[in-house]
């Protein structure tokens, strides 16, 4: 194996790990809360084993509550089900971050979608010559949509703005590839 393919594999790994969440924070929160509950269970178990009075609930009353569920038990169970489903969802979803990869010969490059949106807005502002506050861009995984509110009475050419924004996208070649959609609002705004 040559060192070149080695570094390519390293860069692919770096980019892949940058584009997805590590879930470490979710794991830390889940495990820390779980540990608190377990610490309480352990304490109650030991207290019951040595016949000392319970802190909050004795193990006997917990098993009793599970064997013959009351409304309160069912409410607790429902809450546990919600938390459980959220945790499972966190585990199986791809955990993508709002970022794109930019191909580069020397470096592994990732860019926040917010920065990408700013760059595309800038191109649209230059081409349309409307104030920056009236151009907004949203970048999602495969689509960048630019919305422009023109000045009343002036005509904006959507194709030329699309071309200008497309040129920026082309020069960056983000991965996954971005489609450009430019929308010029029907109603303009009075003033410069």
């Amino acid at each position: 194996m040559t060192s070149d393919t080695n570094s390519q594999r390293l860069y692919r790994r770096l980019v892949r790990r940058s584009l997805h969440r590590s879930r470490s924070s979710a794991v830390i929160v889940a495990f820390a809360l779980g540990s608190l509950v377990l610490a309480w269970v352990a304490t109650e178990s030991v207290l019951a084993a040595v016949n000392a009075p319970a802190l909050l609930l004795s193990p006997a009353s917990i098993t009793e509550a599970v064997n013959t569920p009351t409304m309160l038990t069912i409410a607790v169970a429902a809450a546990m089900a919600v938390v459980g489903v959220v945790l499972v969802a966190l585990a199986i979803t791809p955990g993508r971050r709002a970022r794109h990869e930019i191909p580069d010969a020397r470096m592994a490059v990732v860019i926040d979608d917010g920065v990408l949106a700013g760059a595309l807005s800038k191109a649209a502002i230059r081409e349309s010559r409307v104030p920056a506050s009236r151009v907004s861009t949203v970048v999602s995984r495969r689509l960048s949509s630019v919305t422009i509110t023109p000045t009343s009475g002036s005509l904006l050419s959507a194709p030329s703005i699309t071309h200008a924004v497309g040129a920026v996208v082309e020069s960056l070649a983000p991965r996954p590839a971005l489609r450009v959609a430019v929308a010029v609002s029907e109603r303009g705004v009075v003033g410069s």
């Binding site: 770096l14 879930r23 610490a39 592994a108 917010g114 920065v115 960056l172």
Partner: protein
């Protein structure tokens, strides 16, 4: 860009999640008498001690898991050995060199650098915070030139991960007007 084991993180989350769902399902089944589940028997002292032991073991495992997240950071970027001995370069030095090079690029608000050990190699991670409407091509090319200069200084090519970020500072920074 830490060395946290990500599949293991998924597994841990799924395990805790399924445990919660299973307990909820058990209680749900008991309350509806939909499925005939046995009563949980009364717990004797031995069982209680076992439950306490398992809980403590699980807590220990959770603590180990938590403290092993985010490993892989390195302070030293490069170590070189020659006849006279060996010298090392800290990641901070590289960060300073790159920051100095990029000081004149107005679209860049902030540069931070960290070193990580990934697969036996030291990787330099650069986080470049830009202004809101930055010329991204210019930013990336500027960083590329700064990295090329660093390559010359170090006389080697360290793997570099560049993250062009939109930070809080970027949204607070004033937008550069271009006419």
């Amino acid at each position: 860009m830490t060395r946290s084991n990500r599949p293991l993180n998924r597994l841990g989350l799924a395990f805790v999640g399924l445990l919660f769902v299973a307990v909820a399902a058990w209680i749900g089944a008991r309350s509806t008498s939909f499925a005939a589940l046995p009563d949980i028997p009364a717990l004797d002292a031995t069982t209680l001690w076992i439950i306490a032991g398992i809980s403590v073991a699980a807590i220990a495992l959770a603590i180990v898991w938590i403290v092993t997240r985010g490993r892989g950071r390195a302070r030293t970027l490069l170590t070189a050995t020659d006849d006279d001995g060996h010298g090392s370069i800290e990641a901070r030095v590289a960060a300073d060199l790159i920051s100095d090079d990029l000081a004149r690029v107005t679209d860049i608000v902030d540069v931070t650098a960290r070193a990580f050990r990934v697969r036996g190699q030291t990787v330099l991670e650069l986080v470049v915070t830009t202004r809101r409407a930055a010329d991204v091509r210019l930013v990336i090319d500027s960083v590329g030139r700064a990295v090329a200069a660093l390559d010359d200084v170090l006389a080697t090519r360290i793997p570099v991960l560049l993250h062009v970020a939109s930070g809080v500072r970027a949204t607070l920074a004033h937008e550069q007007r271009v006419h």
